[in-house]
């Protein structure tokens, strides 16, 4: 069979942090090639490179070779790659909100009047709206969807948007290669099945398909070949017949030998914080009607694939996004999600994006550390106007610098000059100024070198053990959670899917992340009923 796409030794790094390392894969005509991997395994980077996303060029391009239909691919933008016959189904949808379904499906390929075609050329020719809509609704019917194509995208449900996104590519007659990024993530099983059948039909017609999904059973069901990514590298490849959900899940998570940092212990189940039907409207990381209890004095891990809501919990408590539902902290209901009042009550949240939310880059180290204590609890100042008592403040800061081994030239150094690990230490030091009883930490070790990682994890354990601070860590670094946590909650689609323990087997984590209940999975057709903990209304 003809190779449509061949990628040889592809590497890409963002600011020195490698995202893809020497990846080689190929897609043949009439084949569905599946790609499986956890967060940060490089799947999206691969998609972005092939689709010509400007992000890649802005961050310094890539190394390696991509051969598309026999010639080397060198595109500057998405427009060129589309012209070459490559279609792309984006996870976040490339749909224009203010245009109708019909307009979106035919965007850039509108049917035009023949008369004006000849007069002004196709680009400036009058659009035949009726014919466009007819074609669009025919395509949607083929996908089994019967909607008015005159409705604007902004008024559609996510489910329908996904179908429109796919219909746009299906409607193309010049399609040679189709890239699908998590096309079934938001669909119910029955809708997903419908879609998969259409894909299989299309590939039989000679189309090459690159299929990214974390629904392992779908991958097993439709793919001719599967490549598993982990940490930017290809870890295994399977052919049709060898593909097995359990093996995929195991490869995705990987087997790492590590020694536990935290002593295993049993924590008394006295709740300190209860979420009841808690929802957070954080775009891209939504939490929907979550129930979770955090016990006093424990370290709780939150994990899940990106987009499933693990980051939103802390931000929701600080009132950064609109919330709904009930939260009970130490027996009292929190009536308003307001950062100031909740900090006063003893909750503190350290953000995942330190550069954007965690520091004042132009301020000094000392000013960063004392900021919250100064502003919320009026520490470090003596008079009503709030001029800082620098002697006391520096005393405190120097103590923190020594305790946490923050590497800096002096407390007056500008904080943006510090490295990632030291920034995280500054953030933690700032949290401790307000003496929180409950500390939320998101992605504490992202972008930090190994040595500093260990220190930060140790710091968190120390704080927990010595001060009795309850800590909730939200991260996709599973092995770290296993080392420090007492319990680990896996989130799927904005809800707690399963609560596991550090000694639970890797396989169980892999399956839980993918939203699969057990290891003995039989395949897609029998599974019309839903796994426990994933109520129906989500899948409608």
């Amino acid at each position: 069979m003809e190779k449509i796409l061949e990628i040889k030794n592809l590497s890409k790094s963002y600011n020195g942090i490698p995202a893809l390392k020497n990846v080689s894969i190929s897609v043949r005509a009439g084949e569905i090639h599946g790609i499986v991997g956890a967060n940060g395994s490089g799947k999206s980077t691969l998609m972005n490179i092939i689709s010509g996303n400007p992000v890649i060029r802005e961050t310094g391009g890539y190394q390696g070779e991509i051969i598309y239909r026999g010639s080397r691919l060198q595109v500057k933008n998405c427009a060129e790659i589309i012209r070459l016959g490559v279609g792309m189904v984006h996870q976040e949808f490339a749909l224009i909100p203010d245009l109708t379904i019909g307009e979106n499906i035919k965007l850039g390929r509108e049917e035009t009047c023949r008369f004006t075609d000849r007069l002004f050329g196709r680009k400036y020719s009058f659009i035949d709206r009726r014919r466009n809509n007819e074609i669009a609704s025919q395509v949607l019917k083929r996908l089994g969807l019967d909607v008015d194509v005159g409705v604007k995208i902004i008024d559609l449900s996510t489910n329908t948007k996904q179908f429109v996104e796919i219909a746009r590519e299906v409607a193309r007659s010049d399609l040679k290669l189709l890239l699908l990024d998590e096309p079934t993530a938001v669909l119910s099983k029955s809708d997903a099945l419908k879609l998969l059948e259409v894909l299989v039909g299309m590939s039989r017609g000679g189309l090459g398909i690159l299929f990214i999904s974390h629904r392992l059973e779908e991958v097993q069901y439709i793919c001719d070949r599967v490549t598993v990514f982990r940490d930017g590298e290809v870890v295994s490849r399977y052919k049709k017949g060898e593909i097995n959900v359990t093996k995929l899940a195991g490869d995705m998570v990987g087997h790492q030998v590590y020694k536990a940092n935290a002593q295993k212990r049993s924590v008394k189940a006295t709740p300190v914080l209860c979420f009841k039907k808690f929802s957070v409207k954080m775009p891209g990381e939504e939490i929907k009607s979550l129930d979770l209890t955090v016990y006093e004095g424990e370290i709780l891990g939150l994990t899940g694939l990106s987009g499933h809501g693990k980051l939103a919990l802390g931000y929701g408590l600080m009132g950064m996004y609109p919330v709904a539902g009930e939260v009970i902290f130490k027996g009292h209901k929190l009536d308003r999600m307001n950062a100031r009042t909740n900090i006063m009550k003893g909750i503190y949240v350290l953000p995942d994006d330190r550069q954007a939310l965690g520091i004042l880059p132009e301020h000094s180290l000392a000013e960063n550390i004392i900021f919250t204590g100064d502003q919320v609890k009026y520490l470090f100042s003596r008079n009503p106007l709030g001029f800082i008592d620098w002697k006391g403040a520096y005393g405190y800061v120097e103590q923190a610098v020594r305790d946490f081994e923050i590497k800096c030239s002096s407390p007056k150094q500008r904080v943006k000059e510090l490295s990632g690990g030291n920034l995280q230490k500054v953030c933690i030091a700032r949290a401790l100024t307000v003496n929180p009883q409950l500390l939320f930490v998101a992605e504490p070790t992202r972008g930090i070198d190994i040595a500093a990682k260990e220190k930060i994890l140790k710091m968190l354990i120390d704080i927990n053990r010595s001060k009795g601070t309850t800590i909730v860590i939200a991260t996709s670094e599973l092995d770290e959670l296993k080392r420090v946590c007492d319990r680990i909650a896996v989130l799927v689609k904005g809800r707690v899917f399963k609560i596991l323990y550090p000694d639970s087997p890797d396989l169980e984590f892999g399956l839980a992340l993918a939203g699969e209940e057990g290891a003995n999975y039989e395949g897609i057709r029998q599974d019309e009923e839903l796994p426990e903990g994933l109520p129906e209304d989500l899948c409608g």
Binding site: Y315, M318, G319, M320, N338, A339, R340, T341, N342, I343, M344, V349, P351, A356, L357, G358, I359, L360, P361, E362, H363, S364, E367, F371, T372, D374, Q375, V376, Y378, S381, L385, G386, F387, I388, S409, S410, K412, Q413, R414
Partner: protein
């Protein structure tokens, strides 16, 4: 000995943060070259540089307070205050009331300042509420709020029941004159207060003291708890929100403060100039002030007192030098054209440069 090393390290850091931080950028280089050329030309044309220097000192303070008034808003992340006419008209109301009651000398001047604070506080509060609705686009909204308040205040100038005949149109017309002389009241009270004469040089010590007072006030403001919160909001709003700061309140305070300072600024300007200028006059005053702070080295996202002072002095000196030079080459309109050209190209440069650095707004 260890103490000494520590002190030395502190001092080094201090210098690096507050002085090493200051870098000369392309616009300042161009402005400096331009200024030098003008100075050489002035020398060649045998103009009296001492008189020019004396005048430049007065011009610095005359416009300086207006420039300083930009700082609270700029540092709170509410952008360059293109809506400065709001504060200026507030100050003009205060001046008119003082003149109406024929208050003279320092009584008149300080009464104007006091009234300015009241009127501009009110104006600034409303203006702040409006700008809080348009977060991220304060500049364009501010421009048009500033434009709209001018005709609105024209009603006030025309219809308000002022009594002092020296303020009203002499015959026929209704309402206040466009240009009211302050000569009988408090023209140049600050300029002439403690005027030090050394040889040909006139150093207006009183004027400087007042200017220094305003600078000191701002310096201290940014060191209070609210001032620190203001800087934090301007630098990283999301961080500030996560740290429990009421963003809307802080911005409101900063905008009101900017407006009040603009009111004070126009009082200082008027006493130096000797006239109150009403009607459409405040319309274009925001632009030179903004370009001054940019020339001083501000990036258009935050600005320090030093940058405001330096920028005002450079820009006003250039303005001052262009007048006699344009007259010399027989195209007097050239002064005004060059002024606007400099002003707007600096602002445009800053707008482009600021966004290119990709700071998310």
């Amino acid at each position: 000995m260890r103490e000494y090393v520590r002190m030395r390290n502190y001092l080094k850091d201090y210098l690096r943060i507050y002085a090493g931080n200051y870098r000369i950028k392309p616009p300042q280089i161009i402005i400096l070259i331009f200024l030098l050329t003008l100075l050489i030309l002035a020398r060649v044309l045998e103009m009296d540089l001492v008189i020019l220097f004396n005048e430049s000192l007065v011009k610095l303070v005359m416009n300086g307070v207006l420039v300083l008034s930009l700082l609270p808003m700029l540092n709170a992340g509410a952008g360059m205050n293109f809506g400065m006419p709001v504060g200026i008209t507030g100050g003009l109301v205060a001046l008119c009331i003082s003149v109406n009651f024929r208050l003279t000398g320092f009584t008149g001047f300080f009464m104007s300042l006091l009234l300015s604070l009241v009127v501009c506080g009110l104006f600034g509060w409303v203006y702040g509420l409006l700008l809080n609705r348009v977060k991220g686009r304060e500049e364009i909204a501010g421009t048009f709020i500033g434009f709209s308040i001018i005709p609105l205040m024209n009603y006030f100038w025309t219809l308000a029941p002022f009594q002092n005949r020296q303020m009203l149109y002499p015959i026929g017309g209704q309402g206040l004159r466009p240009k009211i002389s302050l000569d009988p009241y408090f023209s140049k009270v600050l300029d002439n207060f403690c005027l030090l004469k050394i040889g040909g040089f006139d150093i207006p010590l009183g004027l400087f003291a007042f200017y220094a007072l305003i600078c000191l006030f701002l310096y201290l403001f940014f060191r209070t708890r609210i001032g620190r919160a203001t800087l934090a909001v301007g630098e990283n709003e999301a961080f500030a929100r996560l740290s429990g700061i009421d963003i809307a309140k802080i911005r409101l305070i900063a905008i009101a403060l900017s407006t009040m300072l603009a009111g004070i600024g126009i009082c200082v300007y008027a006493q130096s100039y000797g006239f109150i200028q009403l009607y459409d006059e405040p319309l274009s005053m925001a632009f030179p002030a903004i370009s001054a702070v940019l020339i001083g080295g501000s990036t258009g996202r935050r600005a320090w007192i030093f940058e405001a002072v330096l920028g005002t002095y450079l820009l006003q000196t250039i303005y001052l030098l262009t007048v006699p030079l344009a007259n010399e080459i027989l195209i007097p309109e050239l002064t005004e054209i060059l002024r606007t050209f400099i002003t707007y190209s600096i602002i445009l440069y800053a707008l482009l440069y600021r966004n290119r650095r990709g700071i998310v707004h």
